[in-house]
Subunit: 291 residues, 2 copies
């Protein structure tokens, strides 16, 4: 396994990676760390775990590790986030997936895993509705490495199911400055969360993705059972980094709108997040100038 790193390169090259987890902490003192994609070998599978707000870098990042003909597995939040990778290597070489787990990067080369651990992925090519042999092989390798992974025949279904969590919980955790625990313990917040999930569920349906009704309640139940968690979007916001508003909110809204489905609450959340994001980014810029 090779790691391409940016701000963490020096630290990881010297100290390796540290992972804390309720399933057991571990430390990888020596990892193949790269500062530059050109030093990477051709890889069988290139996992894209970049924030979607930096997808404009993919034309520089992907050619080197994929030069041997390997595939790209896009593990980013949002809808149709694979398109940016597909533009570089071709849609037929792309798989996408969602991480149904709670983990935060808490320091350089330092990951804190908090709860759950499932990754679900599938083929990106829109005409493919099966678990291909290469997807099965990636799954088997990951299972052998102890990862809770599932190969999906239906990537859009997987993505919309994840959006049913990301849209309410990422969005409201930022706008209301709240952890998932605070949201699921307040009656008004839960009522709003459920209404938002219903809008996402209906939008998925309008886009031809039929998610069983019971996933609405399940999304809340899973979150109730979760340790108190700061969503990735809330951490981005608190650390004055750009938020993934386009991938997680604007693209689903546009897709739904194209199919005649309106999502007024999700749109409002998107507008609120854009306001907060613009102010946050400009505050970050002025504090950098002051620093």
């Amino acid at each position: 396994v090779h790691f391409l790193l940016h701000g963490d390169f020096d630290h990881v090259a010297r100290h390796g990676l540290r992972v804390e987890s309720p399933w057991g902490d571990f430390h990888l003192p020596h990892v193949h760390a790269h500062r530059d994609p050109e030093s990477m070998p051709p890889c069988d599978v290139t996992i894209v775990a970049l924030k979607t707000t930096r997808n404009e870098l993919l034309p520089q990042l992907l050619p080197a590790p994929t030069r041997g003909g390997g595939v790209v597995l896009v593990l980013q939040n949002g809808l149709d986030v694979e398109a940016a990778s597909a533009a570089v290597v071709g849609a037929e070489r792309v798989l996408g997936g969602c991480c149904f787990l709670c983990s935060n990067k808490v320091g350089k080369g330092h990951i804190r895993h908090l709860d759950y651990g499932r990754i679900v992925f599938g083929e990106y090519a829109s005409d493919c509705r099966e678990v291909t042999p290469r997807a099965a092989r990636i799954r088997d390798e990951m299972v052998a490495a102890g990862i809770d992974v599932e190969a999906s025949e239906d990537l859009p279904l997987t993505r919309w199911r994840k959006l049913m969590w990301n849209i309410p919980f990422n969005g409201l955790s930022v706008v209301l400055d709240a952890s998932t625990k605070e949201l699921v313990e307040d009656a008004d917040a839960v009522e709003l969360v459920v209404e938002i999930i219903r809008e996402v569920h209906a939008a998925a349906g309008a886009c031809g993705v039929d998610i069983p009704e019971q996933y609405i309640a399940k999304t809340i139940d899973v979150t109730r059972a979760m340790v108190p968690y700061d969503s990735s979007m809330r951490l981005d916001y608190l650390q004055q980094r750009p938020m993934e508003v386009e991938a997680i909110f604007a693209t689903p809204i546009r897709r739904a709108h194209d199919r005649g489905a309106e999502m007024p609450r999700v749109e409002m959340l998107c507008q609120q997040l854009r306001f907060l994001d613009a102010r946050n980014v400009s505050r970050a810029a002025s504090s950098r100038q002051l620093g």
Copy 2:
């Protein structure tokens, strides 16, 4: 003029009232200050300027100053906020009005007036659609005192017009932690504000109150021309006081719903405010316990 005061009584009894205003500052060193309604004389007009969150006090506050048969003028934000006063003195003795002005209480006995100054009021009794002689007389007395006041033939119209400002700007200023200036200068926030105003405008229509379409744009224009302003709800929130969510949000939502009009964005704002209000009130309680 007699003033009934609670927390500010000692200060005002000793130092009077201080008003800062772009129209000229002034100081009233001696005012008729009362700590207890029982010490008040019978008043011709009793102005209710209490927060609606304390309307449960009205049965104790109103009987003394109204015992001579005088009327009550309710200058509170929200919809049908006169009902609580009407329950004490009877609907036929109640007038209601809205303050289209920017002022904040910034200290004990210390008011800072920032912009605009208009008060519009009218009869509360639902069958009354005219400027009654008593309303005209109150208007004339206020005009003689230099107040920019207008007697309205249509109190529900006045109230819904004020809600077209209060609902978006009170609500979003709290949820987005923003001044009116920040909101009207951001394109996404303005888009959302306009959508919310349209919902309020449509709800008014469903309740039989036809507000000319041009008031939608006018509400934004007035706010653009306004000095940067912290809405009363935002000040309440920042000072950990209960917010007027029921009067300004929940009642209009209920009325609209009863007439078959839905307000999804206003409802969402109401749910967000209730979440923030509950957390704020519980934080205020725990900091009082710690203190």
